[in-house]
């Protein structure tokens, strides 16, 4: 077992760190970028495309680079470090991953090609309002109409749903969950975008007999493709969270070193430094679990859903712990929008809930607890 990055992966990390560090060298730059729609910087998105980052996980014949989960991990962690608002995990890993898994050759060439070039933004429309995380999606239905299909119902929240050029929509077809492609200019498509508490964007999306194209074989059950793409996205989010937690802890440590009260630096007080030490423990355990899940994605895909939940559960606990303590150890300044740590806590909170939260993962892990003696990390 080896957790070290090779020289190409290190070069990728440095390149992405350079690009994102320049774009988001301060929390002000991030606040500026998220102040107006689409909630991220289109120029930075284009630069990521030029660098090949948006093409990373896709096969070369689909217009991708053919890189693996380790490269996705490297990028996601850098995204998290500076809280870059560009939708790398949402568009590339999750939506793009679904197209790669389920799309026809023609769909893959068009949709992944456009995504990789930074010309077409993909978004997954799966969540339904008032419903906890679920793999099914019964509230939007797909109906055959002549040669084609139409969709009816509401998806919300759809991350970047108002800005997206193409929506991938889960819909119920005779009790199955199928995937459909809906273009931004489709008739009967209503999108109302809004800001989310972590500075991102989401939308209420209503389908009224909206023409839709099946992704892959018409009406085929997409559960397996969803499960695979979700596992990859959960792991990528875990790395984005690890990057965010690392910065939140660095920022907190720096504050404890420099902020003075009672005439001495805050680091004089053991009540504070011990809590920072515990944050480090949480972070490193989460980092280990996330890196392991990436290795499993690359080498033992049949175990990926379980590994992704294990990593996501560890990260869920760590993210809450680190995020909450980062604010508390700062005191009042940590509550302000002009200071960085609160934004990190907000982002960690959003990630924790988008693809199933810690309790959801634990529920799944608990259900299979009698299936094994010990949990072995290696095959």
């Amino acid at each position: 077992m080896d957790f070290t990055l090779d020289s190409e992966q290190l070069a990728l990390r440095d390149a992405v760190r350079g690009l994102l560090g320049k774009a988001y060298g301060s929390i002000d730059a991030r606040r500026d970028a998220t102040a107006s729609d689409p909630g991220f910087d289109e120029k930075t998105w284009s630069r990521l495309a030029d660098m090949g980052v948006l093409a990373l996980p896709f096969a070369e014949e689909d217009g991708g680079v053919g890189a693996g989960p380790a490269e996705v991990m490297v990028v996601a962690e850098e995204v998290g470090r500076v809280l870059a608002p560009e939708p790398f995990v949402e568009a590339v890993v999750l939506a793009g991953g679904l197209v790669a898994a389920q799309g026809t050759a023609e769909q893959r060439a068009e949709l992944i090609g456009g995504l990789a070039a930074g010309e077409s933004l993909l978004a997954l429309a799966h969540l339904e309002p008032g419903r906890h995380w679920s793999a099914g999606a019964p509230d939007v239905t797909a109906t055959r109409s002549g040669d084609g299909w139409t969709l009816d119902g509401v998806k919300e929240p759809v991350l970047h749903g108002a800005r997206a050029d193409v929506l991938l929509v889960t819909a119920a077809v005779e009790g199955r969950t199928a995937l459909f492609v809906v273009r931004a200019d489709a008739g009967g498509l209503e999108r109302t975008g809004y800001r989310t508490f972590d500075g991102s964007r989401a939308a209420h999306v209503r389908f009224i007999s909206t023409p839709a194209e099946p992704l892959g074989e018409p009406g085929a059950d997409a559960t397996a493709a969803l499960e695979a793409a979700l596992a990859a996205a959960r792991v990528a989010y875990a790395h984005e969270s690890v990057g965010a937690m690392a910065t939140a802890l660095e920022t907190t440590s720096e504050y404890l070193r420099t902020r003075k009260q009672f005439g001495v630096p805050l680091k004089t007080f053991q009540a504070l430094t011990f809590r920072a030490a515990d944050m480090y423990v949480s972070l490193e355990l989460a980092r280990s679990a996330a890196a392991w899940a990436t290795l499993v994605l690359a080498d033992e895909p049949e175990r990926a859903p379980e590994a992704a939940r294990r990593a996501a559960f560890q990260v869920s606990k760590a993210g809450r712990h680190v995020g909450q303590e980062a604010i508390q150890l700062h005191g009042g300044i940590g509550m302000t929008a002009e200071y960085s740590v609160g934004h990190y806590t907000a982002r960690l909170t959003a990630i924790d809930h988008l693809l199933g939260d810690g309790s959801d993962h634990l529920r799944h892990l608990a259900a299979s607890v009698s299936d094994h003696g010990v949990v072995e990390p290696m095959p």
Binding site: M1, D2, F3, T4, L5, D6, Q9, A70, L249, S253, L256, R257, K267, Q270, T273, F274, A276, A277, D278, Y280, V281, E284, L285, A286, S288, A289, A291, W292, T294, L295, V296, A298, D299, E300, R310, F313, Q314, L362, R363, L365, A366, A367, V369, S370, G373, V374, V375, P377, M378, P379
Partner: protein
Amino acid sequence: MRLRLSDQDVAFRDEMREFFTTQVPQEIRDKVRDRRELTKDDIVQAQRVLNAGGLAVPGWPVEWGGKDWTNLQRHIWHEEMQLACVPAPLAFNASMIGPVIAAFGSQEIKERFLPATANLDIWWSQGFSEPDAGSDLASLRTTAVRDGDHYVVNGQKTWTTLGQYGDWIFTLVRTNPDAPKKQAGISMLLIDMTTPGLTVRPIELIDGGHEVNEVWFEDVRVPAENLVGEENAGWTYAKFLLGNERVGVAPVGSSKRLLAQAKEHAREIRTSSGTLLDDPLVAARVAELENDLLALELTALRVAAHSADGKPHPASSVLKLQGTVLQQAVTELFVDLAGPDVVASGAADGSQVPHWARVSAPQYLNYRKASIYGGSNEVQRQIIAGTILGL
């Protein structure tokens, strides 16, 4: 990045597994599995089997019986040993004084002590802590005053684990009370525990057991040749020893094994609607512990794989802290699984209450020690805050 072990490491793991499960007496391994108390002879016998196979002291220099293994191989050796219920080589010998003598002792002292230490022909005890010097070890007050060819030692050590079996004790003693810093006046002395004036007195612990002792020194005359390294340099050797102590102290394999046993027990405990393992709260608690142990094991693997350049990985400090937290959490789970059976701790083997349930509370109480010894978990937090976070 790679998930799998290399072919070479797989072969190494299989070799370890084969040795531990075929060479170490089953009767001793059964005792470990069933959480029964090991006798002195069990511990000695197991270590001698390991030593005969060259597996007792792999961390030592090769010329003294060590192995030129990678850190990952040392990790595998340690894990496989725990999974096979093999008692680890006596820490006082293999992890503490042995490496110190090998690194700092004179050639004469090495030849005199190292082979006997590896084979457990000498049972070492640790004489570091004192009533007024616990986490603040450098405040120790036991004195050694030079008198001709001898040192005369006076004072008291405490928390001496298994001191009742000890043949020799390695001690930290104050040789220069006037040193400008208290750390600078300390030396390390090796003392034969049969020397007149040395008394071992038992301390009964909260589990009713006798595991630790006080050791009293009244005008104990120790030959000056038993000094390790140089006079007044003992603090350097102690820090070296304590650093080694931390690295080996995360008991991942044994906690994993115990948790698997806990599930088997939970499957046998009846509730009004099935067994305890069917209870969603119990299942969730087990699942969370399994996940925490996985994250700890992976962190240990990261540390093992990363320490190759000689510098410990920064995350190594997490291992002792979280390792003992989880070890204690597993002992707590056993108590909760036992339920009211837990009070049958005094029952004999004819009892209907299973043995694991009878020992669960004493073990739970006993393992409160884990977050105190080897540098308390508060000391570990101090290390993380100071050396990693710069606080």
